[in-house]
Symmetry: C2
Subunit: 285 residues, 2 copies
């Protein structure tokens, strides 16, 4: 009798070994999820340093090195994911599952709709975890613990394959939830993309005269404006329609607050602020 | 030869013994700034508890008890300060200096323009310190250490009196800066009031479907939406004109970000986000 493999997957490849990709590698290793971890990227020097640190087992700047992997997780910038998925499918030498960590799902899923080569399947994922830090040096194995991962299958996707992806994220300690790519993009536009837009617009309001006055409130509300402009330009452009729409909704709400203030409507303003406070307090913290 | 008094003031009265008022009392005591500390408020029970805890020496629900004080600091809600200052001036039995801790200065200073009774002088102040906590129980003596205090004299105010107020806040460990009430209100509209408006509008965007997705970014950007609606309604209404104006400026900037996104203007969007990041990084943290 063969012993069942102790690992969920035989070989996991991480394409894009940054903060997220590196943390996935660390978690896979710590939790014994795969026998082998492959790291793929564009900078050989940084990949070799990651390998030397023990984060990944094998490294390569050639995507063909994912050919032996049964699970490939694409952690490159959102505007490159679809192309990377195609290249990985083209190089696949076994029936592989490809997923990603991209924070926009609609553009990617719609782009890849229609099937991939070599019997590869793509199931979109978005693990909601991270920090403003970048680079594999800041990777931590517990980044995903108790965080939420959204998996966004298309209706025609094989349920067994979807479940394998769900179980992968659960094995990293995540809670999981399935939704359509479009539902995901709307939710993320509101809860992740809009805050960045708002923080950026607010941060840009400062000048030499007012900078001294920025205290804790201003700092906290603009903290995420320090995010990487490369990453966020990509996210906004990939999720342009939902982001634009939610900015418009936000502006309507802020305009209402402004009108209540100008009109000296004390009761109306109090009710609006009380409702906002209630909503904020519902967030577990 | 008389020894000079070791204290900066003989008796300091704090009207409104909440977080700010209580912390001023604690700092005055810790730093030996006055011989005697009087606490005035509306809730006898809470005042007596504060007295019992050693925070203040004498308490009263009657503003007449400030009559013996040479410095009175009004720490009541912004919409009550002007009336409280008049009542204190009316009860004064010595040439007293009255200042405040209100986060809006124009409305108060313009209201009190024209002089007070009994040779009292009012010089507006705004110590930029605090937290979302309320109540004297959360008072801390070091709340003001190295924080900025803005003093907003009117042109006709006696320089010696202004200097006494400046030295008071410096004695609590604060850095000080003088500006006109209107300059102050504009700066605070941008750096303190606008962030609250933005945080509130953002917090109100959540619903049952999206609440699960709110991660660190959303939480941080909306943290201050948990502020007291009573306090913030008062602040917005007292500073209505500058707040409305800065909300409009903010909306213009956010609209520009939205337009760059809809137009898929990658370079323009990147430049905007990079500028915002640069501005945010200038804040020491």
């Amino acid at each position: 009798m063969n012993s069942p493999s102790p690992h969920l997957f035989d070989e996991v490849a991480i394409v894009g070994v940054g903060l997220i990709g590196g943390s996935i590698a660390a978690a896979v290793k710590q939790r014994g999820i795969a026998r082998n971890i492959v790291g793929i990227g564009r900078n050989r020097e940084r990949l070799e340093a990651a390998q030397k640190s023990g984060l990944v087992d094998i490294v390569s700047v050639d995507v063909a090195a994912t050919g032996s992997s049964d699970l490939v997780v694409v952690c490159t910038p959102v505007d490159r994911i679809a192309a990377d998925v195609r290249a990985i499918a083209g190089a696949s030498r076994r029936k592989s599952i490809i997923t990603d960590a991209g924070s926009v799902k609609g553009a990617i899923c719609h782009d890849l709709h229609g099937g991939l080569r070599n019997n590869s399947t793509f199931i979109g994922s978005h693990p909601l975890a991270g920090s403003e830090k970048t680079g594999w040096e800041h990777a931590v194995a517990d980044l995903f613990e108790n965080r939420l991962c959204v998996i966004t299958p298309c209706p025609e996707d094989d349920r067994e394959t979807v479940q394998k992806v769900v179980h992968f994220w659960q094995a990293l300690g995540m809670r999981t939830r399935e939704m359509s790519p479009d539902e995901h993009d709307r939710a993320l536009a509101i809860t992740s993309h809009l805050p960045h837009a708002v923080a950026a617009a607010l941060a840009s309001m400062l000048d030499t005269e007012t900078r001294d006055f920025a205290a804790t409130g201003f700092r906290d509300t603009t903290r995420i404006a320090a995010g990487d402009p490369n990453i966020w330009t990509g996210i906004f452009l990939q999720n342009a329609v939902p982001v634009s729409k939610q900015i418009d909704v936000f502006i309507e709400r802020l305009t209402r607050l402004r009108d209540l203030t100008s009109l000296q409507d004390s009761d109306g303003l109090h009710a609006l602020l009380a409702e906002a406070r209630e909503e904020r307090q519902k967030l577990a913290e």
